[in-house]
């Protein structure tokens, strides 16, 4: 989404305000300050991070109940990313408001999501709340003595072995997986 290059951020704010009567002007001023933006800045002079913040300001000050964002933190430096995520987290504290966003960055997803949905080539392949995901997805680091072959366990979706060290990734972790590996002679280093 691109703003009009030759116009200022203030012009964009006035334009949106003329369409949304419930535009929250004090909140927009607060966001200007928090994001380190100036209303008189022309869009063509803004960096990528500033443009993302400006766009988010224009959206947030409308006080929408549902916010749909596509890769909101892509291409941002860590500081700008932190600022954006902090503001989105602040939105989430209001229980009447929701954010639906797409991201390839699992750190962002883990930081602000309540519910996660995986989409692959346009199809939903899994959808559940974050805590359940974090509980189910685990990485088991194993020490595998020579001559020992790791068994195929249900819920383990990937095993990578390099010499005596192996990493098994589980998408449906169960505590008895560790004992199943140890039963074959492997040693679980960490989960």
């Amino acid at each position: 989404m691109r703003l009009y290059e030759g116009m200022t951020l203030g012009w964009h704010m006035n334009f949106i305000r003329s369409i949304y009567p419930n535009w929250d002007a004090p909140y927009s001023q607060l966001l200007l300050k928090r994001f380190g933006l100036r209303a008189e800045q022309k869009v063509k002079g803004l960096s990528h991070g500033q443009r993302v913040k400006a766009t988010l300001l224009l959206v947030l000050a409308r006080r929408p109940r549902l916010l749909v964002l596509d890769e909101p933190t892509t291409g941002l430096d860590p500081v700008a990313r932190h600022e954006i995520l902090r503001e989105l987290t602040a939105v989430m504290t209001d229980e009447r408001r929701s954010i639906l966003f797409s991201s390839h960055n699992t750190q962002d997803v883990e930081q602000i999501s309540d519910r996660i949905t995986f989409i692959d080539r346009g199809r939903i392949i899994d959808s559940m709340d974050k805590e359940t995901y974090l509980d189910r997805w685990r990485r088991l680091r194993l020490e595998v003595p020579a001559g020992i072959r790791l068994p195929t366990l249900p819920g383990i979706i990937d095993v990578r072995q390099d010499g005596r060290l192996a990493v098994a990734t589980a998408n449906a972790f169960a505590p008895d997986m560790a004992s199943a590996y140890e039963g074959t002679g492997a040693r679980v280093q960490s989960i």
Binding site: R2, F15, I19
Partner: protein, 224 residues
């Protein structure tokens, strides 16, 4: 809400293009200033500049107001607002045509006033002036229609080429028309049947192009 949204979008386009419109107005004023230098060469040069200013504005406006908004993805910004495709289409049509009509109308009035105020230019010129001023308006309508309906840079460029390359030929035939050529030096404009037929043809062409554009714009249901 619908009317106010369309009005807001039209105002937005005006604000975005005020520099472009101002430049064309300034170019028109300069051209008229050259015409006032009271020599035959200055009259010709000024007249050509006046039409060039209109033709350039008529070619650039649809591109910058319609095509560039798509190309630069600013239309996506508008899609995030509570605006329907019909409202957007209608606002674009009104703003594009309005932004051209203002300088065009101003130049027609200025040219008319100039001919009436100058004793060395016979009033018979007024018929030719009105016929010639209709041409950039038709050309603009054609380019704007291509831009608004197709929203494609390729089709708009094609319409611009067709429109701008036909001025010379049409001017040639108009100047050779006895009903115009033969009355240029008369003391009053002669609104003969052929002149009225040409003006009627121009008006019909404009009405047809704009009517078709309005119809097609009102049928758009999707932004993309």
């Amino acid at each position: 809400m619908s009317g106010s949204v369309i009005r807001t979008l039209i105002l937005k386009d005006w604000q975005l293009h005020r520099t472009q419109i101002s430049f064309s107005m300034v170019a028109g004023v300069v051209a008229l200033g050259v015409v006032q230098l009271r020599s035959e060469t200055a009259f010709m040069v000024g007249t050509v500049w006046l039409f060039v200013a209109l033709i350039v504005l008529g070619s650039m406006l649809p591109v910058s107001n319609v095509i560039n908004e798509r190309k630069k993805q600013s239309a996506v910004f508008l899609m995030s607002l509570p605006i329907s495709a019909v409202q957007y289409g209608m606002a674009k049509m009104v703003s594009t045509i309005g932004m051209f009509l203002i300088p065009w109308g101003a130049m027609v009035i200025a040219g008319w006033t100039l001919v009436l105020s100058r004793h060395d230019i016979p009033n018979g010129f007024i018929t030719l002036m009105f016929v010639l001023f209709g041409l950039p308006l038709i050309g603009f309508c054609l380019i704007a229609a291509a831009a608004l309906v197709s929203e494609s840079e390729g089709w708009t460029i094609a319409a611009t080429i067709v429109s701008n390359s036909s001025y010379g030929l049409i001017w040639y035939f108009i100047i050779r028309e006895p009903a115009i050529n033969g009355t240029l030096k008369s003391s009053a404009p002669v609104w003969s049947a052929p002149v009225l037929a040409i003006l009627g043809g121009e008006a019909a062409a404009i009405a047809l192009i704009l009517g078709l554009t309005f119809y097609l714009q009102s049928r758009k249901r999707e932004f993309i």
